[in-house]
Amino acid sequence: MSTSTSNAGSAAGSALRRGRRRPVDSTVKVLLVAAALVSVATTIGIVIALVQPTIGFFQQVSVVEFITGTSWTPTFAQKAYGVLPLVAATLTVTGVALTIAVPLGLGSAIYLSEYANPRTRKVLKPIIELLAGVPTVVYGFVALFALNPLLQKWWPTDNGPAFQNLLIAGIAMGIMIVPTIASISEDSMAAVPRSLREGAYALASTKMQVSTRVVVPAAMSGIVAAVVLGISRAVGETMIVTIAGGLTSDRIVLNPLEGAATMTAFIANISSGDIPVGSLDYDSVFAVGALLFLITFALNAVSIRMVRRFREVYE
């Protein structure tokens, strides 16, 4: 920059020295490191914020009661702190969601990667990814006010779905995570080398056989990562279950046609109420939050490992 002078050699030579500090690069680096640190610090902050009330909670409620108790009634006169009802509801909703999202997501991915011509794929893939951006609150009220009445109307037997229920919340959540599963699975299937497909076709495979017996297994770690990510989104999802999933938590609800509170729905509900800081109810929110954090953290760790494995396959 400053060497534009056409002076003699000495001037040109001195221009090479570090006379003037250029602040730009080092400043940028500091800013970038700071940006990275913010997210690390946030995670650590969350853990710390969770730990103290959680410890407070477990000083009054035994871990065994928390983990094995079958009734969760912190707001009742008769208080009980067994987290199983919340966990069961979370599992039920997640199970319903996966039953919908895995076939649909994987089917879309296979279609996009193996069947759609490049033009169709170019149009469809962004549309599917766009669906991932629909606010979850929209899924929630569509589920409650549009889908559930239909479900109730068409239900073949008398004891159909309740006003709020785990089934409809799970269905909405399943539709919500289809784009996640489809998009990541499609990426990993597109990364399967063409030579493998050719090898399979040369062995007299049909397109379906190439897709299901060669491409899907070869992309399996990416697909598993997609599903795990989908699970972790489902477990952590709050809006849909709060709106459409129900509130029951004094017993374990196994019938998906009934409503029940998931871990997230409980936290959302009680947090919007008026609970005194430092009370056991207050602490119980953090205990459930800590459990949720552990579960999603573990799922994300699994997912990251999977993605890493998937990257190594063809190197």
Partner: protein, 288 residues
């Protein structure tokens, strides 16, 4: 397995090329198992190979040689309809197999590929176990087999790989060396008992020792299979093949390059007494 009355006799179809060479096909030439007549292959509007006619003799090794880009792979892939997989690729002229045109509407490309298998330039085993690689073809084609284990063993033996892998059939095919992977791909191909095996530069990614093994294997396999091999290695063609087709690329009036078959004949003859000046230049190393 004689072709039922073929109207195109070998002598006729190679007239454009072979007949101009002094000694017409030797008397012991049987009816060819496959036959190309006037085959042109297009990628979109581009005519990659023009007007190719040649026979493929049963249980013989036919080599295709020529400079890079002259359409050897393109022609090879037209023999089992692998070109179907390339959008815009199109074949004109006729490719027959036992007298049956492979490109008529009622022909199922899956059935074609079951009888005419293919081994590729870069070994491409599936990321599955060695066993599952070999069993893949019989499984997808629904072959009725008494014992899959026996079939896998036989295919691996026939591909001269059994002794090296018999203790690790459950390990991934990708864990093998390049040469072993290529023999695994050959085992995988013969496991479906095709009649013809197409090989597109099967040794180009391999070291000389692995190459020698594959060449030996090809000679061995030609007792039971018809083999068509593309190679850029003239010595290899001279060593292993019975017939050789020499292709080159011609530039036409519109400055477009098209692959052309220059000469087809018995390998010994093509290398010692080529009929065409271009063949002679190529095999003696004088290009263009």
């Amino acid at each position: 397995m004689n072709p039922t009355d073929t109207t195109n006799r070998p002598g006729v179809s190679i007239a454009g090329v072979g007949a101009q060479s002094t000694g017409a096909p030797t008397p012991d030439v049987a009816d060819p198992v496959m036959e190309l007549s006037g085959v042109s292959v297009y990628y979109g509007a581009y005519e990659a190979v023009r007007d190719t006619s040649m026979p493929i003799q049963e249980k013989q090794i036919t080599a295709m040689i020529g400079p890079s880009g002259c359409g050897k792979s393109t022609i090879l892939r037209s023999l089992n309809r692998m070109n179907d997989l390339i959008p815009g690729a199109r074949v004109s002229g006729s490719v027959t197999y036992h007298g049956q045109d492979l490109y008529t509407k009622d022909v199922d490309p899956i059935e074609v590929r079951r009888r005419i298998g293919m081994v590729f330039q870069k070994p491409n085993p599936f990321p599955k176990s060695i066993y599952d690689n070999v069993a893949y073809g019989p499984r997808v084609t629904g072959m009725k087999v008494a014992s899959m284990d026996d079939l896998v063993e036989k295919a691996l033996r026939d591909a001269a790989l059994w002794d090296e892998v018999k203790d690790k059939l459950k390990t991934s095919g990708l864990a093998l060396s390049g040469g072993q992977q290529q023999r695994l791909c050959i085992a995988r191909t013969i496991a479906v008992r095709p009649e013809i095996i197409l090989m597109d530069e099967p040794c180009s990614a391999l070291d000389p020792i692995a190459t020698a093994k594959i060449e030996d294997l090809m000679s061995e396999l030609s007792n039971d299979y018809t083999i068509v091999i593309v190679t850029h290695n003239m010595q290899q063609a001279a060593r292993v093949s019975h017939y050789t087709a020499f292709f080159t690329a011609e530039v036409d009036e519109r400055q477009e390059r098209h692959g052309r078959l220059v000469e087809f004949s018995q390998t010994g003859k093509l290398f010692t007494n080529p009929a065409d000046k271009r063949t002679e230049d190529y095999i003696t190393g004088r290009f263009g």
